[in-house]
Subunit: 503 residues, 2 copies
């Protein structure tokens, strides 16, 4: 591994981007089977390195061995899901129109499929050192499409990033992916240079609103703007109906407490604001659930000192608002961080929907860490007005009782969020075909997802071939469909083998 | 019609955007059948108004009755194609994952589909007063998804825009679309305000690189950036192999002459640069084809005086380049416009691939009008280097003989363009399922198409429903699939009725 370590450590942005561009000449023409083999090789290598990687991740992130072991398994299972999806082939949207002289204008032979964009820059996130970092969803989905990747490792886990990069690069090389298919750079300046580099064709980013907006602006102001897929900020509102709080307040309070404190609250899907009926005493129930965890000596280490101090500041700012009361936890100025530097402990705050409607910007600032704001509403209508003021979010959750009419509630929740939950809590994001991780600004910057199979669409662009000789076409578009992938032919979706399958 | 005329003329941006937002509360929940009926009603009304609209379009655009009649038919057939696609339903990407406890993490019941973004601003283009204007592809694809539309009419055909807007608004009202589903505003300031308006969620634009870039920058720098789907500029390179020019030079020259002069060269898919073997005499063959059309009294009126004078200036700049020779037409300083104000006539220029490689910016500036630049190459390799220097384009064409190995050529053409042609010429864009109209910057600003069925994807965003009661789900995601649309269920694409259909 010495050679690889050296190669990766010494590689700068220009070198990594040029190597990625050079690799793209090969990866753009790779077969689905080849790409599936690359992804599987990376997954196998990461699994094999688990006993080395998980302790390293725990040293740098303090997230605990159990959580990190699960996160690594999620990461490798994500790579394998993309491998299956690549072979299945429908993500290419292969479409064939045979010539038709009766249309206006006449249709020539036209065949369309998606093709990889080119080298992709991926920014690792601090809070998921495996699943949203070097070998996370952005990297997996980009490699799956045939786009080389240059990762900018996160400074919160530099040693893990380097070691993961070595494992990924080694696995790709062993699986015969071309040199330059994967690169790794470090540091803020490298990240900025990467977003502006002429050879980079798209960016995947998970991080803060502030940093993400700055990089989005750089990507958009290039001479040739490129797509910037950023997942930036979300408060993930939860609405509890009067019937639900009446039927199962204690269960809901326990569920909320477990969700907002999970991983010391460092989830982008953390339930940050929870709407409950006024007078329900719900905030106090949640406070009772987290009671012991608020003790100074129970404070848990956060990802970085900077995140812990930003959390303390954010909580203090909220607590200092005239209309906010502290129901549990330490939220005086700087007091949450005071237990020990770099730690955080649960805080439950409460306010009213009327206050939120009057001052949404102050009350809905994302506070990254283990806090939640319980918002007491006078009516569902008032709660919905306040939720609209939240703006875009990754998730929105409703807890209701069977038989309640949810039409008005759903109209608002689907408008502001990318994933709407009817049970459970938003932390925990399944990696599957139907997943959607993204939502209206500032949740994400675009109309695509960063988790789940359709995340591949971000790194693809359509190309149509007009009147091409069959031999000149990619296999996916040849008349006899040699790969047997689903295709739309003359407007009709055709799934080979579907005749034998029940609908 | 008096009431409608007044309503549209007096409506400002704020009013139109607010009305669109209000309509969205209804259109977001519209059924596929309702949207199909709206589109069909608009198509029928436009067809019924043909004898009024075509002469009006001709007065303002000078494009001729035959072309404009065909363009209107294309426009209404486009609306009807979207109506069929909406009912077919696969554009929603409906995906269902049943719960699966064996995945990491476990998968809950997750159901995902695409939903409309909200009010869309559409900028009419000057060169297609029907097909890319008030009721063109952007409007049709946005309405198809359930997004209300506010059109900013193009100043090149104000009376046609207003009248078309009245017909569209009247047809939608008669088909029971909610008030505000369609609006129309005019003027540069209105366009700028529209792109920045808080209620507008996306923009469709076809126009110049300069104007498009300015609006793209506005959309990207909003407090909440929105997608800007711009089709801006393309030179549409054509590569003729030595074997092809040897086999059929005269036929190719005639084809090129017809294509680059079509509609006085005012097509975004105009073949602006054509690579031919050095010494083939191809430029002179093209010159002979357009010979008579270059006479001063043969000059044809262009869309606007501004376009004609920009064309004359562009041609003069190219002709003034040390390495460019004028093979046919009048290309001295201002001389093309000199025939009569607002007119243009064909110009054939020639240069070498070496000159292009040395100075691509100067030689590949898009020159909107009836000119083409014949580029003589010493080798295919040299031609491909020059084509790479062209950058992104809507189309790229190769003319080769049967049996030639096109791998190297295709690698370059697919990299720079969204549509690759193997026969014919790029002017003429079929509206179909497989069409792709878009390409790398500056051809378009995003990874989507503005023509063809998949243009709808631009105005949609995914929403996933987690553990939703069946009754709370949109019909498209209910377990029993009441609308019978294609869906992906547990990773498998299921097309109802496909059992009976040959693969």
């Amino acid at each position: 591994m010495t050679t690889e370590t050296t190669a990766i450590a010494e590689t700068g942005v220009d070198e990594a981007a040029a190597a990625a561009r050079s690799a793209f000449a090969t990866t753009v023409a790779s077969t689905a089977a080849e790409r599936a083999a690359w992804l599987t090789a990376v997954a196998d290598a990461l699994d094999a390195a688990r006993d080395e990687l998980v302790p390293l991740a725990d040293e740098e992130s303090h997230l605990g061995t159990a959580r990190l072991t699960g996160e690594l398994a999620r990461t490798t299972s994500q790579l394998r899901l993309f491998a299956r999806a690549v072979v299945e082939g429908s993500y290419l949207e292969a479409t064939i129109d045979h010539p038709d002289a009766t249309t206006i204008p006449p249709t020539p032979d036209l065949r369309r499929m998606l093709r990889p964009l080119g080298p992709v820059a991926v920014f690792g996130a601090s809070n998921f050192p495996f699943a949203f970092s070097v070998a996370g969803g952005d990297t997996a989905s980009a490699l799956a499409t045939g786009c080389p990747v240059v990762v900018k490792g996160h400074s919160a886990h530099p040693r893990l990033s380097r070691r993961t990069a070595e494992v990924v690069a080694g696995a790709l090389a062993a699986a015969d992916a071309p040199d330059g298919t994967f690169g790794h750079v470090e540091g803020r300046a490298a990240g900025i240079a990467l977003v502006q580099h002429p050879e980079i064709r798209a960016v995947g980013f998970t991080g803060s609103l502030h940093g993400g907006r700055a990089l989005f602006d750089l990507a958009s102001s290039r001479p040739d703007p490129i797509p910037f897929y950023g997942e930036l900020s979300a408060v993930n509102p939860v609405l509890v109906t009067p019937a639900a709080v009446e039927a199962r307040a204690a269960e809901l309070a326990a569920g909320l407490a477990a969700s907002f404190t999970l991983g010391v609250g460092q989830f982008c899907t953390n339930p940050g604001v929870v709407f409950v009926p006024a007078g329900s005493g719900f905030a106090e129930l949640v406070a009772a659930e987290v009671g012991e965890a608020t003790a100074p000596d129970a404070a848990a280490p956060m990802l970085t000192d900077g995140i812990a101090s930003a959390f303390a500041d954010g909580v203090a700012a909220l607590a200092g608002h005239d209309d906010v009361r502290v129901v549990a936890g330490r939220a005086g100025n700087g007091s949450n961080a005071a237990s020990a530097p770099g730690t955080g402990s649960p805080v439950v705050l409460a306010t009213t929907a009327a206050a939120v409607i009057a001052d949404p910007q102050a009350l809905f600032a994302e506070c990254f860490g283990p806090s939640t704001l319980v918002v007491e509403y006078a009516s569902i209508e008032e709660a919905l007005t306040a939720i609209r003021a939240v703006g875009g979010s990754l998730t929105a959750t409703v807890h209701a009782e069977p038989g309640e009419d949810l039409a008005d509630i759903l109209a608002v929740l689907t408008e502001i969020a990318g994933r709407v939950l009817f049970a459970g809590w938003p932390t925990g994001v399944a990696v599957s075909w139907a997943q959607q991780h993204g939502g209206p600004w500032p949740a994400t910057t675009t109309i695509h997802t960063s988790v789940g199979v359709t995340a591949m669409r971000r790194f693809l662009r359509p190309v149509a071939y007009q009147q091409a000789p069959d031999a000149a076409l990619p296999a996916e578009l040849r008349e006899d469909n040699p790969l047997g992938i689903p295709r739309r032919v003359d407007g009709v979706l055709v799934v080979p083998g579907a005749e034998a399958r029940p609908a």
